[in-house]
């Protein structure tokens, strides 16, 4: 099941908005610069100010090996 939010004329992949919370689904790139809970905390801190009173939940869908030099990104699925 794909995590996405459907808006007028567009689909936002990797983000699910409910009345109570906003879910952000990510694929983390390996090697990780920091443990996953800390990455999730970073995402929560960035997203929280923009979603009002809704809670923010981060879901790591997968970890992928990244061959590119820039590593440790969290990619929205």
């Amino acid at each position: 099941m794909e995590a996405a939010t459907y808006g007028p004329g567009e689909k936002v992949s990797g983000v699910v908005v409910t009345p109570e919370e906003v879910q952000v689904h990510v694929v983390a790139a390996y090697p990780l610069p920091k443990p996953i809970p800390e990455l999730a905390q970073d995402i929560r801190e960035r997203v929280s100010p923009k979603v009002g009173s809704r809670g923010v939940t981060v879901v790591v869908e997968d970890l992928e090996m990244n061959d590119e030099p820039e590593t440790g990104q969290a990619v929205v699925t």
Binding site: K34, E38, A40, R44, V59, V60, D62
Partner: protein, 194 residues
């Protein structure tokens, strides 16, 4: 359990619907010649009625056969088990890492297999990951090791490797069970298990 519940509810509702239709027809004399007292016979339930009456009479008189008693106890136990299963909250689908952060079971499984692959003892491995209510995952890992290896030592090393790997990634482990078995890398079969 969800499928079982749906089947039971569908059968129950279908039965109620049929009974309701017959009840309306018989109660309001919509079709001439149909009497409410004849409903059990029309539905072919008269034998069931007689059987049920017989069992109830036996219960009242305390003359139940041993088999009937065992069946009643079994039904009561089954009902209790189903009730407990129904009241039990469902197992979560995702592994909780901390409050507000989750990982899918497949993501955790991939990490477990990656960790096992890095262990020098493990030749091939498979894993099952279950989420639990609360942080941490329940992990069952099966790993193959070469013939002649010390299985206990190999299991300990693989377990340590997986625990360390997941700890570095920040994936909390509630329970890690590692099962190792001797495997011939050429055939993939195993014999001795620990």
């Amino acid at each position: 359990m969800r499928i079982f519940n749906r089947v039971v509810v569908v059968l129950l509702l279908a039965g109620l619907f049929v009974l309701g239709v017959f009840g309306v027809i018989y109660s309001f004399d919509l079709l001439p010649g149909y009497r409410l007292a004849e409903l059990p016979q029309t539905l072919g339930l008269s034998q069931v009625y007689d059987g049920a009456q017989g069992v109830v009479s036996d219960v009242e008189n305390g003359t139940l056969t041993e088999i009937a008693f065992l069946v009643l106890v079994g039904v009561a136990l089954l009902g209790l088990i189903l009730l407990i299963l129904e009241l039990k909250p469902p197992t979560p689908r995702r592994v909780e890492l901390q409050k507000g952060a989750y990982a899918t079971r497949s993501a955790v499984k991939n990490q477990v297999l990656a960790a096992a692959d890095q262990a020098p003892d493990a030749i091939n491995s498979s894993a099952r990951v279950k989420a639990r209510r609360g942080p941490g995952a329940k992990i069952k890992l099966k790993a193959g090791v070469r013939r002649g290896e010390d299985l206990r030592a190999a299991r300990s090393r693989i377990s340590e490797q997986v625990g360390e790997y997941l700890g570095t990634a920040g994936i909390p482990v509630n329970r890690l069970k590692v099962k190792v078995s001797e495997t011939d890398p050429r055939s993939g079969g195993g014999s001795r298990v620990n």
